[in-house]
Symmetry: C2
C-alpha cells in the first residue's frame, strides 16, 4: 500500500464548493489504491477575519492567545472536509495538531516542530480511514496551542510525510507548480517539471511563495518526495528532486524576489573581535531571523554593519540595535523598510563564472542601484529599492533567457 | 482568597463590544479581591453559522466531526476575552476544555463530564491569573473532542466550581434571574430572590431556559452556591438555596413550559411482565431521554404505553418503537410532535393537597384538554396541544397568584 500525504491551502478550501472538490480529489487518490493523509489550512479569509476581531480588542495581542484564536481556522476546515468525505462514503476522521501530537517548541506564532507521534495516525490508516489533519498548528510540552507561522501547513504536511514515511507529499496550491519567476510579474515565466531541492530551498527562502522554506528544508532532510501542483487546474506540477548528477543543469533555474525584508545599519562601531556577536546576539535572542549580513571596515578603526530582517521584525530589531549602539558607543543606526531582494538561483552556477556579471549588467542597464550583495553556491542575491522589484525580475528573467 | 466562577453565555459575548464589557465585569470581580475563573460560550450566531456550513456539506454529519467543528466557537471567545483582559492589564490565560482535562464520555453532542483535573487551573490562579475556560466542551478518554449539548457551558461552570471548591458560581445570562414564569409570555411574572435547588431543578428540566438541568443537578450534588444574573442590567439575580427549613414556602414558586418534546404511544401490547423494559430498552440504548411515561391496561390483556422524548429524537424513537411493535405483535404506534408540557413547581406543594385541582380547573376553564399528567413531590406537569401553551401558562400564573 502506498501512502500519499496531500496538502490543500486556504484558497483550495475557500468555501463549501471548493471543499467538496478537494474531497473529490482525495477520493480519486484513495480509489487509485493509496492510503491518504490530508493536511488543510484555514479557509482563505478566515484567519484575517479572526485577526481583525483580535486587533479591535487588543492591537498587541498576546501571541499565545493569537494562536488559540487562529488555530480554530484549520479546525473548522478539517471537520468540514471530513464530513464531505463521509458524504462520499469514505471513512475518515479529523485531528487537530495537538491530537496527533505535533509537538513544537513554545515560540508562539512561529513554533518549530520537535516531534510527531505517527502511531495515532497509523492506527486510523490501518482501519482504511482517510486521516484529515489541521495544518499550521501543534502543541508545546505543556499542551499550549502553537502555530508554525506563515505557510506552516506545508511544514505540517512534509513533517507528517517524513514521520509516516509516505511515498509522496503533494502540496496543492493555486499555481501549477514552480515557475522560473512569478508569472504575475513575468508573463513569459515557465513551469519547471523538476527542480533540485537546493534550488527550491533558495527559491523558497528568496520569496517564491509556492512553498515555505522550512517545509523544503524538512523535505530535504528526510528525502521526502515532494510535488507542487494546482488544485484548480490539475497537471503534473513540479517535482522536487534529490539527484544532482544530471547531465545538463541550467546555469540559472529561476528568479525569486522578496519584499518582506527590511535593512538595518549600525555605523561607526569600534572594530574589535567579537563585535559582530555583540551586535547580532540580542537580535537572535529575540527570535529574529537575520538574513543577509554585510560588514565594511571604515578608515578610523570603526566598522559599519548592515543586515536584513523580516519586515515584521523591523521595529523591534531597530530598538534592540539602538540599545546596542548606545552600549557600544556607535555613531548611529539607520534603517530602511522599503527594500526588496532579488535572487538568481541555479545549481549550474557552481561551474559558471559570469553569472554575477550578467546580473549586475542587466540591472545597471535599467538604472537600478544595488544596495547589498550576497552569494551562496547556487544563488546570487541583491538588495534594491523596492520600487524596482518588477522591473528587476523581468530584466533578469530575460538576461538569463529563462523564457525558452 | 475567595474564588468566583463566572459564566457568560452567547448573547453576553455576542460581539467585540460585549466581550469588552464582560472583561470590565471580570475586572471588577477581581478588584474586589477574588480569584476568578471565567467560562464562556460561543459568540451568539457563531454555532449556527458553523452548522449551516456543515449542513450544506452533509445533512447528517457525523457527531464526532460536528463536535470538532462547533467547539471552535468557544475557542474563539476564550482567546478574545483573554486579550480584552490583557488590555486591562489583567494577567489571564485561556484554555480549551481538553486543555484543562474536562474528561467526558464519548457521546458526541451530549457528552457527560466524568472528571476534571483542577490542578492546571489552580497553578494559574496561584500566579494571580484569571483563567478563561471554553464552556460546552471536553475530551473523551481517547482525546476526541466532545460537546456537552445545549446549555453545556452552564454545566462546565458548575463542574469547575465544584472541582475547584469555588465560593460562588455566577451564571450571567440575558435575563435578570429566575422568574415565576417566562416574562415574554406572562408580563406580570416576578424575579425570585431565591429558589430552592429542587424547585430550580424542576423549573430547569421543565423548560425554564435560564439554567440547564444538568448544571443544576451538578450544583445540587456538590452544593455549589449558584447565582443566576444578567450581564446586561446587573442586579442581584436569583440565588439557588439548599436550606429547606424556611418558615413559609409558597405552594407554587413558578410555572414552566417545554415545547421541545414529542409524544409516542404504542397500542395493544400483550400485557406481560417485563414489557415496559422491552419497549423502552431500545430507546434508552439509543441514548434517547424518556421523560413522562404513562401506561394503561386495556380490557383484553393488552396495554397501551405513552411516553415523551426530546422532539429532536422523535423520528429516531418512532422508528425504534415501530420495530419493537413489530416484534411484540402490538397493534400500532402513534405519535404527536405538536405537544407542550406545562408544569407548576413548588416545594410547598408537599404539604398542600389542592394544587392539582386548582391546576385542572384553571385549564378546563380555558377549554384546554389535558393529554397526560405526571407528578413528583414538588411539581405537577401536564401535556397539552402546543397551540395552548401561552394561554395555559398565563392561566396557571394567575390561578396560583404568582404576580404578587
Amino acid at each position: 500500500m502506498t501512502l500519499i500525504v496531500e496538502k490543500y491551502g486556504g484558497t483550495s478550501v475557500a468555501d463549501v464548493e471548493r471543499i467538496n472538490s478537494v474531497a473529490d480529489r482525495v477520493a480519486t487518490t484513495q480509489s487509485e489504491g493509496n492510503d491518504v493523509v490530508v493536511v488543510v489550512s484555514a479557509m482563505s479569509g478566515e484567519t484575517n477575519r479572526l485577526l481583525e476581531m483580535a486587533d479591535e480588542i487588543h492591537p498587541q495581542a498576546s501571541p499565545r492567545e493569537v494562536d488559540v484564536l487562529v488555530s480554530t481556522g484549520e479546525q473548522v476546515t478539517i471537520a468540514l472536509l471530513t464530513m464531505a468525505l463521509h458524504h462520499r462514503n469514505i471513512e475518515a476522521r479529523s485531528f487537530t495538531g495537538a491530537q496527533v501530537h505535533i509537538r513544537t517548541d513554545s515560540v508562539h506564532g512561529k513554533a518549530r516542530i520537535l516531534d510527531i507521534d505517527a502511531e495515532r495516525i497509523k492506527k486510523d490508516l490501518d482501519k482504511g480511514r482517510v486521516v484529515v489533519v489541521a495544518g499550521f498548528q501543534g502543541a508545546d510540552q505543556e499542551g499550549n496551542i502553537t502555530t508554525l507561522g506563515r505557510g506552516g501547513s506545508d511544514t505540517t504536511a512534509v513533517a507528517l510525510a517524513a514521520a509516516l514515511k509516505a511515498d509522496e507529499c503533494r502540496i496543492y496550491t493555486d499555481v501549477e507548480g514552480v515557475f522560473t519567476a512569478d508569472p504575475r510579474i513575468v508573463p513569459e515565466a515557465r513551469r519547471m517539471d523538476r527542480v533540485t531541492v537546493e534550488e527550491m530551498l533558495e527559491l523558497a527562502s528568496q520569496g517564491a511563495k509556492v512553498l515555505q522554506t522550512r517545509s523544503v528544508e524538512f523535505a530535504g532532510k528526510y528525502k521526502v518526495r515532494l510535488r507542487v501542483l494546482s488544485s484548480f487546474i490539475g497537471g503534473p506540477g513540479t517535482i522536487i528532486t534529490y539527484e544532482e548528477n544530471e547531465m545538463e543543469q541550467p546555469v540559472i533555474s529561476g528568479i525569486a524576489f522578496n519584499r518582506d525584508e527590511a535593512k538595518l545599519t549600525i555605523r561607526g562601531v569600534p572594530d574589535e573581535p567579537g563585535i559582530a556577536h555583540r551586535i547580532l546576539g540580542p537580535i537572535a535572542d529575540a527570535n529574529v531571523n537575520v538574513d543577509m549580513i554585510v560588514q565594511n571596515v571604515g578608515d578610523d578603526d570603526t566598522t559599519d554593519m548592515t543586515f536584513t530582517v523580516d519586515r515584521s521584525d523591523y521595529e523591534k530589531s531597530k530598538q534592540l540595535l539602538e540599545k546596542s549602539a548606545n552600549e557600544l558607543k556607535a555613531q548611529d543606526v539607520i534603517g530602511d523598510d522599503h527594500i526588496a531582494k532579488i535572487s538568481a538561483v541555479g545549481v549550474g552556477m557552481r561551474s559558471h563564472a559570469g553569472v554575477a556579471t550578467t546580473m549586475f549588467q542587466a540591472l545597471s542597464a535599467e538604472g537600478i542601484n544595488i544596495q547589498m550583495i550576497s552569494t551562496s553556491e547556487i544563488k546570487i542575491s541583491v538588495v534594491v529599492d523596492d520600487k524596482y522589484v518588477e522591473l528587476a525580475v523581468r530584466a533578469l528573467h530575460k538576461a538569463f533567457e529563462l523564457e525558452t
